[in-house]
């Protein structure tokens, strides 16, 4: 058994249970073209789940808009255009990862869509065997698209920068490269089709939003002269309350609660607030 066959063989494991889907703009176009007509129901299920989730999201947005506004008036709101998020996410590409110890995945392009309530991320690249080329097997590769969902935005506790968490929700293997139509290549790709989503988690790029939230207001000290200032800080508690994608923007609502001034023991310097 050569290296490629070993990879394929090792991949013949029980599939993960059917879960979510929620594909949204990108995923709604998923094509399970490998399925023959007698296996069409899987495709229907995926589209049904995607559409249902889209409808659910749209209903939430419509309800919010009918209540008054899509933008809350009692929270700090940050809205970022999808083009900028795409550009920032693209900085992390190209990116290569070995998935499941058997497949080398290279992601080269990212796109994001902020519509219908959910933030969707699409990563395009290709997949092939992880090992070195043997007998031309290194030429076996296929186009790969990983679909992800921005399901949370967090404030980095160290830097205060907003970062979005992308959870993979599906993938698609498409056009196959040279020798891909060989029996080995076909088996490799079919086996990759059974890759569990958890194995793809390492493929998702970090999506950092170029917005920083201060987690305290600081007051520098002045220790000389007739007017002096005691250094002090007031902590700000920041909590992302809601994330919503619409109008080609990702809208992040942040609840800000301030504490009380606390005198700090910092070394005296010019007074200042931030």
């Amino acid at each position: 058994m050569n290296r490629l066959d070993a990879a394929v063989s090792a991949a013949q494991r029980p599939a993960a249970p059917l879960l979510l889907a929620a594909l949204l703009p990108f995923a709604a176009t998923l094509a399970l073209t490998a399925c023959r007509s007698d296996r069409a129901p899987e495709r229907v299920i995926a589209q049904e789940v995607a559409l249902t989730r889209q409808i659910e999201g749209l209903r939430q947005l419509v309800a919010a808009a009918e209540r008054g506004s899509l933008v809350p008036s009692d929270r700090v709101v940050i809205a970022v255009e999808e083009e900028l998020v795409r550009d920032v996410a693209q900085l992390a590409l190209p990116r290569e990862e070995v998935v499941g110890g058997r497949y080398r995945v290279r992601l080269e392009k990212v796109d994001v869509r902020f519509r219908d309530k959910w933030g969707s991320v699409r990563l395009d690249g290709r997949v092939g065997p992880a090992g070195p080329a043997e007998d031309g097997e290194g030429d076996v590769f296929a186009d790969l698209t990983v679909f992800g969902l921005i399901d949370a935005v967090d404030v980095d506790p160290a830097s205060g920068v907003l970062s979005a968490r992308v959870t993979p929700i599906g993938f698609e293997v498409g056009k196959v490269g040279m020798y891909g139509e060989s029996a080995t290549g076909r088996r490799l790709l079919e086996a990759f089709g059974r890759t569990r989503l958890e194995d793809l988690a390492s493929l998702t790029v970090p999506v950092r939003l170029p917005v920083r939230l201060e987690q305290q207001i600081s007051l520098g000290g002045l220790s000389e002269g007739p007017v002096r200032l005691h250094p002090a800080t007031v902590p700000l508690k920041l909590a992302v309350a809601d994330v919503s994608a619409h109008g080609q923007r990702l809208w992040v609502s942040v609840e800000v609660t301030s504490g009380s001034w606390v005198e700090a023991a910092a070394s005296p310097r010019d007074g200042g607030g931030r």
Binding site: R39, L51, L70, I78, V80, L91, L93, D116, V173, W261
Partner: protein, 322 residues
């Protein structure tokens, strides 16, 4: 021909599944499209959305939140101010004159030198009033001199003149005087101008210098110490010194107080705690971001600022390319 294999959320290949009722995908798509149209219509009518400025990044702060932050920051600034004076000297002198049937006599001269070793007081801000007027924020806050105390040495010198020298010669006394700083309330009026600096919304303070006067009110113990200056003298001398109201003299000197100018510069610009990053670290590499402010609006109870952000061309490369 391309081989395509797809998996969705763990959907394992194309194995047969139990039959289920067919789903009307077209109906779902129709419902989705109707909702999209409805959402587009509602977005167009959303006053709050219409008030946002242009820009790739928008940051909106509720006016109420901004008001609270400015109120708290201003109170915090002022509440941390301590006024400390020392090494101050006040001098007063005079000649005592007394009209008698023989005419006016002058039993002597006095000199009072008050050496203030230390006066301390802290400011205690009251509840600020904040008013938004476009991109300017008016603020008025009462500030009280509080929790202050002072310590001084009062050097009293009596220089006897004429016949009184016989009964009340020259003498000096230097009792220590302690007291509290008289509480007094001032009104600080001014405001903040909003501007965008380096991608961050900054409220720049516009206030005048605040001039306060520290007046030390001696404690009862201190007054008694002053009174003992006179009481310690012989009877004839006390009679002469009764022509001087030492308490009044000292009270006058201290009542003038000491002016302290609190410069406006002590209030620093206050950053709204949400702003744009100048650079971004991705996969261990730093990228410069070009930021172009697009606008600042206050409308519909929200304070918005927007900016265009672009990744600097020269740095727009992924780590695997390097």
């Amino acid at each position: 021909m391309a081989l395509a294999v797809a998996a969705v959320a763990g959907l394992a290949g194309c194995s047969p599944k139990p039959s289920r009722p067919p789903v009307d995908l077209e109906a779902l798509e129709d419902e989705r499209d109707v909702l999209r149209e409805r959402l587009a219509e509602l977005r167009g009518r959303d006053e709050r959305l219409r008030s946002v400025p242009e820009g790739a990044v928008l940051i909106g702060v509720p006016v109420a939140t901004a008001t609270d932050l400015l109120r708290q920051a201003t109170s915090g600034f002022l509440g941390q101010v301590e006024l400390v004076l020392g090494g101050l000297n006040v001098h007063k002198e005079g000649t005592v004159r007394h009209r008698t049937f023989l005419g006016t006599v002058s039993p002597g001269r006095y000199t009072v030198d008050v050496s203030v070793e230390r006066v301390r007081a802290v400011l205690q801000p009251g509840e600020p009033r904040v008013d938004f007027e476009g991109d300017r924020i008016g603020l008025e806050v009462p500030v009280t001199l509080a929790r202050g105390e002072g310590r001084a040495t009062v050097r009293f010198k009596w220089d006897a003149r004429g016949v009184s020298q016989a009964v009340c010669g020259d003498f000096e006394a230097a009792p220590a005087v302690e007291g509290r700083v008289r509480p007094e309330t001032y009104r600080v009026k001014g405001g903040f101008e909003l501007s965008i600096q380096d991608g961050r919304l900054v409220a720049v303070p516009r206030f005048r210098d605040l001039v306060v006067r520290l007046v030390v009110e001696p404690s009862e113990d201190s007054w008694q110490a002053v009174a003992r200056i006179v009481e310690a003298q012989p009877l004839q001398c006390r009679t002469a010194l009764k022509m001087i109201d030492l308490r009044e003299i000292l009270g006058d000197v201290l009542a003038r107080g000491f002016r302290v100018r609190i410069p406006r510069s002590i209030l620093k610009p206050i950053e709204v705690p949400a702003g744009l990053e100048q650079s971004l670290s991705v996969e261990g590499r730093d990228y410069v971001l070009g930021i172009s402010p697009r606008g600042l609006t206050v409308d519909e109870g929200m304070l918005w600022y927007g900016a265009d952000v672009r990744v600097a061309e020269g740095d727009h490369r992924g780590p695997a390319d390097r």
